[in-house]
Symmetry: none
Subunit: 147 residues, 2 copies
DNA sequence: ATCATGATGCAACCACGTTGCAATAGAATT
DNA sequence: AATTCTATTGCAACGTGGTTGCATCATGAT
């Protein structure tokens, strides 16, 4: 029976199997990107990640393509807040697909919170022959208001 | 004495006085930008506006600077939807809170349409101690669905 | 009519994102 | 272990949205 001794090893194994589970090859740059997102708290921009990984010889295009691959695979979440750059972060495992329920994005702390379905009502006028895939509210959250 | 005969001239006068009221010089490019925003229904991107005005010899930088000047002056509203480009539109004079009407963004054609305020209702649960600045719906518009 | 200053056009630049392609390296197969 | 197929990488080059510096022009005040 195999036992992991150092926490970092568990990490690596988990990351690799997560990749394999998504039918993605386990490569050094891809692991690096995933690892970096895994140990980072908030959402990270492409430029930020490139800054951290290019010293290790990883190209910015590679970083970008991996970010896309990982987000398409559902391993990382790609969010667009108000600053015109994509931010990436570890996808919440118990995350529902970007389904019906609305999201609230705080423009200050960039936190994304999920709202219950009944938080937003769409009148029939909202979707004139269109289908609504996502509802997003932007604003300032309670925590940031009292800070 | 000069009298305005055609409705378009009346328009021009209104636009010009709006500019003067904002302590902005009335110039040909600035009037053109304002006029274009005034007669356009939805929110327009800088690229879009440039496409319309550069045939008239107006530079894209000038368009941009005027968009900034006008939005700083409060004459036009600058909104950021999910597509990493600023959209500008006529600022509603009788605007409730910072021009908060909802937008619909088609994920296929990227077109942005403005929705009436009553298209979306936020239940009190939506904003638990938060303030909502912007509401945006993403989806597939009717035109793209039937295509 | 003059003139100070705001506005314009042009060129050049930056950041973010994207694409094409030859070289490389996973991993499946023998 | 060697072979083979193909996903992935690195590089270079490009595209778009946005920005800046600067010489020139024209609005609006005098």
């Amino acid at each position: 029976m195999k036992r992991a001794s150092k926490p970092s090893e568990i990490d690596e194994a988990q990351l690799a199997s997560a990749l394999r589970g998504a039918h993605l090859r386990v490569t050094l740059p891809r692991l690096a990107v995933l690892r970096e997102l895994w140990r980072t708290a908030g959402a990270v921009s492409h430029a930020d990640l490139t800054g951290r990984l290019s010293p290790h010889g990883i190209d910015r295009v590679t970083v970008w393509r991996n970010l896309m691959a990982l987000s398409e695979a559902g391993l990382v979440a790609r969010t667009d807040l108000g600053d015109h750059t994509w931010r990436f972060e570890r996808a919440d495992p118990n995350a529902h697909a970007a389904d019906a329920h609305p999201h609230f994005v705080c423009v200050d702390c960039r936190k994304v919170t999920c709202l219950p379905d009944d938080a937003v009502f769409l009148s029939s006028a909202a979707a004139r022959g269109a289908i609504v895939l996502e509802v997003q509210l932007k604003g300032r959250c309670g925590a940031c208001l009292t800070r």
